[in-house]
Assembly symmetry: C2
Homo-oligomer: 236 residues x 2
């Protein structure tokens, strides 16, 4: 399944500062290092599986992960995306429920796995960490509810534009400052937008012809950001 690698020191983890573990002090971080293990997940591998029980918390050290679920007729729905420094699996762990979505590596990723019991012990003495997690889940909720409004009220063209902006907001640009720093195939974009692959392709081509974006294979460059934002109907 996943390959174990050297266990990096949390104290020196440069992605940590972006996650909610930045509230821990030095001694807590050293303790954390002792209660985690690190593993590599190759593209397409499952970090955890829908319906599974959580045994720990996952911290993305390097790479990109999608959180998605399989719908009624087998169609995938991408719910969230995680990048380096993000923590995943906290919702089910905190709620003591089974995962309601799977976590799948979009590209080769290294992920630290923090032991469940140690995590709960840490939470008990660390109100601040719990508070940060609550805030994080609250933010996820806000984003999910905005997605609901979008699915309810926007047409596919607007939602495809929105998806590109979402990808850009999540993963930023490649060094060239224009190319969205993630490669999803057309089906995966469709699985986030909630539409068919064909419709996604049609609107991407439209944006291409309208010089809003520039497509070369799976690489998408945003040429005209303000036009894209307007297309997504995010103005006013």
């Amino acid at each position: 399944m996943s390959k174990s690698i050297d266990n990096p020191e949390c104290l020196f983890c440069n992605t940590r500062m972006h996650s909610f573990f930045n509230v821990l002090d030095k001694s807590q971080l050293q303790l954390l290092t002792q209660h985690k293990s690190c593993a590599i997940f190759k593209k397409g591998q499952y970090v955890f599986n829908e319906q599974g029980l959580p045994h720990g918390l996952f911290c993305v050290n390097n790479g990109k992960i999608k959180l998605s679920t399989i719908g009624f007729d087998g169609k995938e729905q991408i719910l969230r995306l995680a990048k380096s420094g993000d923590v995943i699996g906290y919702r089910a762990l905190i709620s003591n429920q089974r995962y309601h979505c799977s976590a799948i590596a979009i590209e080769d990723s290294s992920v630290c796995i923090i032991d469940k019991n140690f995590f709960f012990q840490t939470l008990e003495n660390n109100n601040k960490l719990l508070f940060e997690i609550a805030k994080k889940i609250g933010n996820d909720l806000k984003i999910a509810e905005e997605h609901i409004v979008s699915l309810s009220q926007k047409n596919v063209r607007e939602r495809v534009a929105e998806a590109l902006l979402f990808l850009k907001a999540t993963y930023g640009f490649a060094p060239d400052g224009q190319t969205i720093n993630i490669t999803l195939n057309r089906e995966e974009i469709a699985d986030y937008v909630g539409t068919s692959t064909e419709s996604t392709i049609r609107f991407l081509s439209e944006f291409n012809h309208e010089k809003i974006i520039e497509i070369s294979g799976k690489k998408i460059k945003i040429i005209n950001l303000s036009k894209l934002t307007k297309t997504a109907n995010l103005m006013d």
Copy 2:
């Protein structure tokens, strides 16, 4: 705006046991009583408003509240529903953000307002309460993400059926054991489903003709629950 009423004792509040305040002990509850006020909101009145800053936490003592937001072309989207015993406004309060949706009384409701500062003080010394809130937000997130999948992948007929089941799950039945214990107008049902009022009406009539439900005005009786569940495509 809202009318003040006698301040009921939290200790004796029989709705409290269903909310996350059930982790508080006797002395904490007495303290809570001193830091809250109670108000009546008439049908249609705003408990809090989208874009507003949270000054406290709201505890629904009696009545029914909808949490909704106004979309891009002015169309409303109902995101959550609250009933007696439910707490609302925790997400924005915890995250220290503006509300991203409004809370509007669906019927005349009495709501206790807990002072923000007192609430945060209580949280600091009360890990358990914070933990319960995190779980609650996590559950909201799960429900929201299920709604996303539904909006993405189901047709309107299935979603209208699902909405009825959601209303039943939230508010239960009236004493007759069949009538859904909430009256929304057709537009409000549509605003939850993410469709037009006319489509909602059409499918409700269909269900009526198919003897799945029985409609008399705004009252909806569920005649054939298993058929309704099957119509919502929630099987297996």
